[in-house]
Symmetry: C2
Subunit: 346 residues, 2 copies
């Protein structure tokens, strides 16, 4: 391995001079600089980030921990974070927790061990609290993405989940729907809770009764077994005329379940959800969605994180909270019905 000493020797200077050339620090004569540069090329020198980080006590690395790498919401978010990190001179590393607390814990340990300067986390849920406390304990600045964790104050970028849910429900009622069901992520996840709240409030404002049987609280991540959804569909009586899904994964799973039963959307049941389905669904974009600004989640979150990093030392500054608006894209997955319409989703 070629080190600065190798090139120092060959260039007839000290290692320190080489270091200065590499980092563009201090004053160096053009002549020595040119010579050092030439030798570096000759020897194919590549600086060793690890050695550098060890002395500098900072790595210039940010870590992005997402919960589902196959979900276009998160990959788009990742692109935003990547661009922002690059812009500020940081490198960005990714991790994928799969909504698993265990994997999340492993990643947090790895992040600490690799001495990342800061972290962007989409926490698996409220039970991520100890993991965040670990980061805080070790003074690693972090920004929460998409989800808050009760008991942990921090910078955070959220979508307006409550408002989004209200918009979706309002849209359905405006089309005459009165039996509106909700399939949601775990109540251990803040965004899921807010979506449920928004759903309940919107029902109330529309003078519709809330019925527990119409709500299924399950999980946001992909599953192979659809039987829980099956049972929920069976349970609702009378069947809903419309379904709100807490995210895109759930929406797709509901559609698959319905299709398996020969039930068509929107002809027999209307369906809306949070999060768009990504570029590969543009073949036939038909789902009405709250299209969260995934790219902005990543971009703005990274920007906040970098700002925190730069004010290092200055403590006690208030936490920032960015709430991105919930914009609805109306497409074709909602049918208009008359209130007395007795169609069934079974």
């Amino acid at each position: 391995m070629v080190t600065i000493y190798d090139i120092a020797a060959k260039a007839g200077v000290s290692a320190m001079t080489v270091s200065r050339v590499i980092n563009n620090t201090g004053k160096i004569s053009d002549k020595t600089r040119a010579k050092v540069r030439r030798v570096m090329e000759e020897l194919n020198y590549v600086p060793n980030h690890m050695a550098r980080s060890l002395v500098l006590q900072q790595s210039n690395v940010l870590f992005l921990l997402i919960t589902d790498i196959t979900n276009p919401f998160y990959t788009t978010l990742a692109r935003g974070a990547e661009d922002a990190a690059k812009k500020h001179g940081y490198r960005l590393l990714f991790g994928n927790s799969d909504e698993s607390l265990d994997k999340e814990k492993d990643y947090v340990d790895a992040i600490l061990a690799t001495r990342a300067d800061g972290v962007l986390v989409a926490p698996a849920g409220d039970l991520s609290l100890p993991h965040l406390e670990t980061l805080r304990l070790h003074q690693v600045p972090f920004v929460l993405l998409d989800r808050e964790v009760p008991g942990m104050d921090s910078d955070v970028v959220l979508g307006d989940s409550k408002e989004g849910a209200r918009k979706l429900v309002d849209h359905l009622t405006s089309q005459g729907h009165e039996r509106i069901a909700l399939i949601n992520g775990s109540p251990q996840i803040s965004s899921a809770r807010l979506r449920l709240e928004g759903y309940r409030e919107a029902l109330k404002l529309n003078d519709l009764a809330f019925d527990e049987a119409y709500v299924l609280e399950t999980a946001f991540e992909p599953r192979s077994d659809l039987s829980e959804i099956e049972r929920w569909l069976d349970r609702m009586d009378p069947a809903p005329t419309a379904i709100v899904a807490g995210n895109n994964v759930l929406a797709v799973e509901v559609i698959r379940t319905l299709h398996a039963r020969g039930i068509r959307v929107p002809e027999q049941v209307s369906l809306v959800c949070f999060d768009d389905l990504g570029p590969f669904s543009e073949i036939d974009p038909f789902l009405t969605v709250i299209a969260q600004q995934a790219y902005q989640f990543g971009y703005l979150g990274t920007q906040m994180l970098v700002e925190r990093l730069q004010e290092r030392g200055v403590t006690g500054l208030p936490w920032k909270k960015i709430v991105l608006p919930a914009d609805m894209i109306v497409r074709r997955s909602v049918a208009a019905i008359s209130p007395t319409d007795g169609r069934s989703a079974r």
Copy 2:
């Protein structure tokens, strides 16, 4: 920051003893081991990977460089690589080159600087050669994924592109199609070349003439401007009755272009492609595709890489090449027509 010296002091032992406890090396009495462990917990010790890697001259990190993080083919591949890396005790870091040679170069430099032990690369194209030469020069083992690069021998995991193209064309001819067009990635990419070859061979075997005007060689990555595709569609006369797309991105773009013209698939044009569209297209899986085993690309590639790493020192072992089969999933994007059917794709 807590170091092994801090815990050594507090435990009343030497740093070396702490190091031995951490790594489970050498002989340590149960008593001191227990004591050291206790102090580590008390002080929330986290080992410093960078310092460790610096002395050990290895990082236990593998790097996966893909070309499009928003493409489900690559995210699924990433999941496979992640699982395999974990299984073998390596950590996996990701990078996203966006099919850009410049970004790819930046990543290669970063990979060298961070001293990753090995790399999995989906190269941007034939012009990635110098980047691979850089890796080779610095003796960083790598495995190529999905694409070969002429002039660079290495381990590689490929799909059977030629066979895949033949299958797609054969399927179309079996449904009566005779005017079959091809939209493909850059000819600078090995998989694109093989797909073109397979297409040409299959035409010949089916006694169909090859017509250059029916082939568009463009780019695999997503674009915002569809005008090139528009012009190609205009150029073909008579219009094709079926189109083969070199990957999923191109297929979606073709569909969008066609839909904008009010042309429906498969009623007016049939369409097939390489690579499935991922979980979010399961809403209405209708494209007939060569569904490459994305997960296996990542999993097997990582396994090959780890094997190389373990035989470090032993040189001259032959390169391995895994070719994954091209399995076709027939769905509904191909209509049967009679050979004399004069339908138009314009």
